[in-house]
């Protein structure tokens, strides 16, 4: 069946190439039937790519090792879930996933908005086709998942560290995020190409952008949780190029989400938004490129991926075309509305954008620094965590502060007095919290203390917003307080959903500062019966155990945990030895204390022949707030995304007004 898969990809390539070329011509010359034909081609390409994906899935499911891809990424004893998930664990499969998601949501976005946007869709279709053509080109000519070989007896197996539920979910969610950013990009460029400064495409793509951004953010946190548990060095984010690859587009997308609100309400920042959305998309391509091609790591001379150069070329083309389009349409984009005051909500959004983009750029600089330093100094240099941590604090703290101040400032022009009055309560609360924390000993990390004070400020400001809103709603409508609250949130989903997301980010900050600034570590060799003290905890080594699992041999050290004399049970930490892959992996023990939101993290580094064990024990305070923040983040995003019947009716009315004209 690999022939069918290849054929499906070739057909898909033909279809998207046609969609790009014919669609472009149709948009340029205004040919209705040709455009419809191109749109059909886009829809059909999804079906074709889906077929190819199903062929690969079927091959994986039946362990067909005549498929080179199946043989190199799975083995017979690999559980079914992971076998199917290896669809996206390799380069060719993940490219296929990209194309599948792209044609899928591209077709959906076009189909759902065909009626609404008469002037943007004609250009969106060829743009989506062109982007899909790149991936289809790679899949057909450069990196085919359907290469065949003489089937070996068994496959090479999957990297044991990837055999983890988080790694099952992480790539698809990540790709939904990356690829999802294509939609606002295609629509924005379509709007530019068509020369119509109609804002409806923003409203139409708003939910797509939000959803992609949510997926991306959640996927990043999922990846962090995987790294925390699987890689197990005690930390949750290592500023690794692969992690940064996803963070950069997320930061720029966050900036875009905020500034597009200004464009919707004030008709400002149009050029900036066009630049942002193109930047977010280019960064998501760059992120895929970084993760897939290993080019940053390749300064350590690894096997250069075959697709690296292709990706770089494509990113360059996208950046060049976007820039040209923006410059070409600059007169149209230049807004007539000016920023009236540096103390206004528009200005607050602008500052937020500045910090977010600056942070994204510093991360980018850190990521490409090895390549730059090779070119300039001849020796590749890498920047470490201190570089990133410095800028995370430098840009992060003002951003947190803005999260609190922004919602309290009025549009257009706000008097400092009014702002000061609104800030009084939250600032007071923050001050009290700060002093309390200082007395509790949080002064050991000054940046952490400041961060916590700001966090308290923002949380208080958000709480105040909810209280004031509920009170006002209650005064208007009467009824019970809970009813007023739900009615408030229901009528202002964007605003209050956004507040929940802000609260989630603050929670994340609190957790990150906790683990980063206030943790303790202890390591040493323990003989049976010996204890070690870390923070409040005492761990005693009881002995080692062995167990045979499906595809590995498990060796564990059992330790008894107690705190302040109270027995907290035992933990098992050790190593797994995988047979097929001939590899050992660390299996850390994590004991989560939900009341304190802290983790006891135990790494059993070495089992000595004399029965002793070398352990490294870490206490991570507040780390579980990070994962909680992830859930809260999704909840807040869902509130914002939830379809609003009232808003839909209002929009429909407006389109009817315009549509009545068209029918004349």
């Amino acid at each position: 069946m690999p022939g069918l898969g290849s054929a499906a990809l070739v057909v898909a390539f033909g279809l998207v190439a046609y969609a790009a070329v014919a669609g472009g011509y149709a948009a340029h010359r205004g040919r209705r039937r040709l455009l419809e034909s191109a749109t059909n081609a886009l829809f059909a390409s999804f079906a074709s790519v889906l077929l190819a994906a199903l062929v690969l899935l079927a091959a994986l499911a039946r362990h067909d090792f005549s498929f080179a891809y199946v043989a190199s990424h799975t083995s017979r004893e690999l559980p079914l879930g992971y076998t199917l998930a290896s669809f996206w664990s390799g380069q060719e499969g993940s490219l296929l996933l990209w194309l599948l998601v792209l044609t899928g949501i591209g077709s959906a976005a076009v189909a759902l908005n065909r009626r609404l946007i008469r002037t943007v869709i004609p250009w969106t279709v060829p743009i989506l086709g062109a982007i899909a053509s790149f991936f289809a080109l790679l899949l057909v000519f450069v990196a085919s998942p359907f290469a065949t070989q003489v089937a070996p007896a068994d496959g090479a197996g999957m990297n044991p560290s990837l055999q983890n539920p988080y790694m099952l979910a992480h790539p698809p969610l990540l790709y939904l995020g990356y690829v999802g950013l294509t939609i606002p990009f295609a629509f924005a460029m379509g709007a530019l190409a068509s020369g119509r400064a109609d804002e409806r495409w923003i409203i139409a793509t708003r939910r797509w952008t939000l959803a992609s951004w949510t997926f991306l953010g959640f996927a990043i946190l999922l990846g962090a949780k995987w790294a925390y548990e699987e890689v197990g060095w005690g930390g949750w984010y290592a500023w690794d190029p692969v992690e940064n690859a996803a963070l950069m587009p997320w930061l720029v997308a966050t900036a875009y989400l905020h500034s597009v609100m200004v464009q919707e309400k004030k008709n400002m920042l149009r050029v900036w938004n066009a630049v942002l959305v193109a930047g977010a998309f280019c960064l998501s391509l760059f992120g895929t490129f970084l993760t897939r091609s290993g080019v940053i790591n390749s300064i350590h001379s690894f096997t250069q991926s075959s697709i690296g150069a292709w990706f770089l070329g494509f990113i360059a083309v996208v950046a060049a075309v976007s820039t040209a389009l923006i410059i070409y349409r600059l007169p149209l984009l230049r807004s007539r509305t000016r920023l009236e005051s540096l103390v206004s909500r528009e200005a607050a959004f602008l500052y937020n954008n500045l910090f977010l983009v600056a942070f994204a750029l510093t991360v980018l600089w850190g990521v490409i620094y090895p390549l730059v330093s090779v070119a300039v100094r001849g020796v590749a240099e890498t920047v470490g965590a201190p570089y990133y941590d410095f800028f995370a604090v430098a840009f992060g703290l003002p951003l947190v502060l803005l999260m609190g101040i922004g919602p309290l400032v009025a549009w257009r022009r706000a008097s400092l007095r009014a702002v000061g009055r609104s800030l009084l309560w939250p600032a007071g609360a923050a001050l009290i919290v700060g002093i309390l924390l200082l007395l509790a000993g949080a002064g050991s990390s000054p940046a952490g203390l400041v961060g916590y004070t700001f966090a308290a400020f923002v949380l208080a400001a958000i709480a105040l917003e909810f209280v004031r809103g509920t009170r006002a709603r209650h005064a208007l409508g009467g009824g019970s307080w809970p009813a007023a609250f739900t009615s408030l949130v229901g009528r202002n989903r964007r605003r209050y959903g956004g507040y929940v997301v802000h609260a989630a980010i603050v929670l994340l900050l609190v957790g990150a500062v906790g683990i980063g600034g206030f943790g303790t570590t202890q390591e040493g060799k323990l003989t049976q019966g010996q204890s070690v003290e870390v923070g409040d905890y005492t761990l005693t080594y009881l002995g080692s155990e062995q167990r045979r699992a499906a595809n590995s041999q498990e060796l564990r050290a059992r330790l008894a945990v107690s705190r302040g004399g109270e027995d907290l049970g035992t933990v098992l930490a050790g190593k797994n030895r995988y047979f097929a892959e001939q590899q050992t992996s660390n299996e850390v023990a994590i004991r989560s204390d939900w009341l304190r939101a802290e983790d006891l993290f135990v790494i059993a580094d070495q089992f000595n022949p004399d029965g002793s064990v070398f352990v490294k024990v870490i206490v991570n305070p507040l780390v579980n707030l990070i994962w909680l923040a992830g859930l809260l983040f999704v909840a807040g995003a869902l509130i914002t995304l939830w379809p609003d019947a009232r808003e839909q009716r209002r929009l429909a009315r407006r389109f009817d007004e315009e549509g009545a004209l068209a029918r004349a």
Partner: protein, 128 residues
């Protein structure tokens, strides 16, 4: 087109430029850690990171008295470098793997306290 340029634009542009300038200067001064190949290590005194392929048989244990001893070779070349490492051994470490070690050269042996294994075909890094 605009007769009266809003000062806001200037403020914005300057802030961005300032931020960019800060980190450029920071990275130039603070400097990163040079990333070298085994063949390039000889001259460097300070802290560096070296990347290569593990060859031969590693001996000893990372938490043992002798440390973990192994040799890395230029991925594209023949130069080798003996390494002794103390710390947590990451998941994917074994002969034939590409690794990156961080530390300094002492008496012809590279003493490392950081070990990272890379997996080129699968896209994740392991850290200790």
């Amino acid at each position: 087109m605009a007769r009266r340029r809003s000062p806001a634009r200037l403020v914005i542009a300057l802030s961005v430029a300032a931020a960019l300038a800060i980190f450029l200067v920071y990275t130039a001064l603070a400097g990163g850690t040079p990333s070298l190949r085994p063949s390039q290590v000889a001259g460097h005194d300070g802290r560096v990171s070296v990347a290569g392929k593990v060859v031969g048989q590693p001996s000893g244990t990372a938490r043992g008295p002798e440390g973990l001893r192994f040799t890395i070779k230029d991925v594209q070349g023949t130069a080798t470098l003996p390494v002794v490492y103390r710390g947590s051994v990451p998941d994917l470490f074994k002969t034939g793997r590409d690794v990156s070690v961080e530390g300094s050269l002492q008496n012809g042996v590279f003493v490392a306290d950081k070990l990272v294994t890379k997996c080129p075909s699968k896209y994740t890094n392991k850290q200790s």
